[in-house]
């Protein structure tokens, strides 16, 4: 690796488009992920707005029922596999994780680039299905529908399979990086909690994703050749698919949300100028969540004909998830308690995260309750619940992190005023979109339907207005980010947030080799003592 000449940084040196597409620099790969993820966020978002537009009033307005089915399938598949899962680990994590360890790169830079290209290949195939028959199965690919539909589900399954391996290789890379590339003096108890969160996420990625990959391959094979594993006519069992699928897809929820918790762990102490409350409990809670994640998948199958005993067991274990999650929420609040709080945009997003995530988490406990779930299963209550977790949790955590590390990544600062405006608009829009869905779902409105009875009209109207607000908020964010990148003033000096984690020892933006010195860790990541207001 070349050292960048004085005055140059990782973006300006080495020069040229060709140096980007073969780059092994984790920072550049992180930026390429970031650009791709944001692009697909736009695509998935447009599908979301189209769905909401159609649901503004009962009956069919702008599309056929078949188109509607395809649109929500694309919304779900793109958002889950191409946006929410890679959003924090692959985009932000690639950039900051090695720097938080004082390392020059991830353990396996070539595999890192390879996994980015796998992501691209999967993304291209996923999008290409729109021109080769479409897909209308929903992102869960439940059989027998997915193996008998006239649309091209097999091609979409191929795409998800490939993207899965991109995710596995990212996880593998980060695991080895955290184990082997920590700075001198950086014991496990001196790691920033973001690193802990990404590490736990990586374990889930490595252990759960291959099961999904093989299962999706089986569905594709079944659709194409009719092998019969999931087909009762040939002796197979469709419920087996649900078990395999949720064995991955429940832990996948934590692939999405643990990294967001990691981001919040960084921001809250920094903007409270206080050490994090209960570092060890926080790290332990991350692992507690990751562990329990593997043994709760049956809560998606309470109505699939599982025995009552199994249902009770899964219900009980699912509620245990609330314990480590509660530890984290209380620790964040305790960290802020009597801190000297600074409400710049990253902190504002962190507050938004806290508020909606608590609602998302608590409604999860309601759904884990057997009796309640029989009523709420497959209603909009579930839709609202997982959007509170995925959008409210992951997306807001991502936005917090993006604002937090934006100056590090680009050496420019976004406009603080517009940052806050966008955050508030998205927050209001988000709650307006999804809170009414809790009520509609509780009153029995089923998910995935193209039409609904007039009684549900008011909730759907509110929801659609809210979705437009969310879109508006993100358009504002797009504008001030682009403005900052092109016309923004360069940051003077380093570390605008006065954070103590090692990534801020680098220049903004960092040099090609990250640091000009060898990073040695002598203090904890959140030793903000003596700085209290």
């Amino acid at each position: 690796m070349h050292h960048s000449p004085a005055g140059e940084n990782y973006m300006s040196y080495p020069k040229g488009f060709s140096t980007w597409i073969v780059t092994l620099d984790h920072k550049r790969i992180g930026l390429m992920y970031l650009a791709s993820v944001l692009f697909f966020f736009l695509v998935g978002g447009i599908f979301a707005l189209l769905i909401r537009l159609e649901l503004f009033a009962p009956g069919g307005q702008y599309m056929t029922a078949q188109q509607y089915n395809e649109f929500f399938t694309y919304h779900g598949t793109i958002m889950v596999f191409l946006v929410i899962i890679p959003m924090i680990p692959a985009a932000l994590g690639n950039f900051v994780l090695p720097m938080m360890l004082g390392a020059k790169d991830v353990a396996f830079p070539r595999i890192n680039l390879f996994s980015y290209y796998l992501y691209c290949a999967g993304a291209i195939i996923a999008v290409s299905t729109m021109f080769f028959g479409g897909v209308d199965t929903g992102w869960t690919f439940y059989t027998p529908y997915s193996t008998t539909t006239a649309t091209n589900s097999a091609l979409m399954l191929c795409a998800a399979f490939i993207i899965g391996f991109s995710s596995i290789f990212t996880g593998l890379n980060f695991m080895a990086t955290v184990h082997r590339l920590r700075a001198p003096g950086q014991g496990w108890m001196k790691l920033p909690l973001f690193v802990w969160a990404i590490y736990a996420t990586s374990i889930i990625q490595v252990l759960a994703t291959p099961v999904l990959g093989l299962t999706l391959a089986l569905i594709a094979i079944e659709k194409t050749f009719g092998f019969g594993i999931f087909d009762p006519a040939l002796g197979g069992d469709p419920v087996l698919f649900q078990h395999f699928f949720w064995f991955y897809s429940h832990p996948a929820v934590y692939i999405m949300v643990l990294p967001a918790m990691g981001v919040i762990n960084e921001i809250i102490p920094t903007f409270s100028r206080k050490p994090i409350f209960g570092y060890k409990a926080m790290a332990g809670a991350i692992f507690g969540i990751a562990l329990v994640a593997f043994v709760v998948w049956g809560h998606h199958m309470f109505t699939s004909g599982q025995t009552d005993f199994v249902n009770m067991l899964f219900s009980l274990i699912t509620m245990f998830v609330a314990v480590p999650t509660g530890i984290k929420v209380f620790s964040w609040v305790a960290t802020m308690y009597k801190g000297s709080l600074h409400f710049e945009t990253p902190m504002l997003w962190a507050q938004a995260f806290l508020l909606v995530f608590v609602i998302g988490g608590l409604t999860g406990v309601i759904l884990a309750t057997l009796a309640a779930d029989i009523h709420l299963h497959d209603t909009y209550f579930v839709v609202a619940h997982f959007h509170y977790v995925m959008v409210g949790g992951t997306l807001m955590g991502f936005m917090a992190g993006l604002h937090y590390w934006f100056p590090l990544m680009f050496g420019k600062m976004y406009n603080e005023f517009w940052g806050k405006v966008a955050c508030v608009i998205v927050f209001i829009g988000f709650n307006l979109t999804f809170f009414p869905q809790f009520i509609a779902g509780q009153k029995g409105m089923p998910r995935r339907y193209f039409d609904y009875i007039p009684e549900f009209r008011i909730y759907n109207e509110l929801s659609t207005i809210g979705s437009a607000l969310i879109g508006f908020g993100f358009v504002i964010a797009l504008f001030y980010f682009v403005y900052a990148l092109v016309w923004g003033k360069k940051i003077v000096g380093k570390n605008p947030w006065r954070a103590l984690t090692p990534e801020w020892e680098a220049d903004c933006p960092p040099a090609t080799e990250n640091f000009h010195h060898d990073v040695v860790v002598t203090h904890g990541p959140y030793d903000y003592v003596g700085e209290r207001a």
């Binding site: 690796m1 396996f108 080895a176 252990l207 094979i221 019969g228 594993i229 069992d237």
Partner: protein, 219 residues
């Protein structure tokens, strides 16, 4: 052994590692994590097979009688021998014996090829008898007596097929390693790719060690 002194190519560790040792250990750890992933990748097939085996016990029993355990046993021996030769290739590299590396890699490659040839013979036999997955199944005898034998052969082809793909992958890797070994790249100071390929090959061997009794023997 190494009578003539081989001039090994110098190998430089990547810039983000402290030294060769650091890089070697990291690569090995990465390989272990990859193999962990592989275990989980195979797991749905094993779990599915066991579930259906207990669901249709008699049918699976009758169906497995149609597998040729002699061929399976031959392949087991072939793979165990090849695991041994891979280990010898690595220890040859550690001793700086280039010819030892080359010979053992060639032998391993031939073993892998032999495995695939036996597999091919088995598969074509099954095709001939109509012992095929799902609705392709057309063996008249079993259709009469064991209605779910088709599911056994679905798993037989999926499991041995996925394993076979791993064998093919191994052959590609060994060909690449052979080229590098002939180029004097592996010596006592640097043999990381050999070590990792060895781990991978032992894993492929191990999967077969489970597949063989599960499919061929425990009727």
């Amino acid at each position: 052994m190494a009578d003539k002194v081989t001039a090994f190519k110098e190998h430089h560790h990547a810039h983000h590692f402290r030294n060769d040792e650091h890089q070697f250990e990291t690569a090995k750890q990465g390989m272990w994590v990859f193999l962990l992933q592989e275990v989980l990748f195979f797991s749905p097939l094993f779990v599915g097979y066991l579930i259906f085996k207990f669901m249709y016990f008699q049918d699976f029993h009758d169906a497995s009688k149609h597998l040729d355990w002699v061929m399976g046993a031959v392949n087991t021996v072939i793979l165990i021998v090849s695991s041994f030769t891979v280990a010898r290739a690595i220890s040859s590299a550690q001793k700086g014996n280039r010819d030892g590396v080359v010979e053992n890699l060639i032998f391993t490659f031939i073993c892998g090829l032999g495995f695939l040839i036996v597999k091919y013979l088995e598969y074509s036999h099954k095709f001939h008898d109509g012992l095929l997955p799902g609705h392709f199944f057309s063996n008249p005898e079993l259709l009469e007596t064991a209605p779910h034998a088709n599911l056994f052969f679905t798993f037989y082809f999926l499991m041995t097929g996925l394993h076979g793909i791993h064998v093919v992958g191994g052959l590609v890797v060994f060909a690449w390693l052979l080229k590098r070994a002939l180029n004097n790249e592996f010596g006592p100071k640097y043999y990381t790719p050999l070590e990792c390929a060895g781990l991978y090959w032992h894993f492929v061997d191990l999967v077969w060690i489970y597949l063989f009794p599960l499919l061929y023997l425990v009727g």
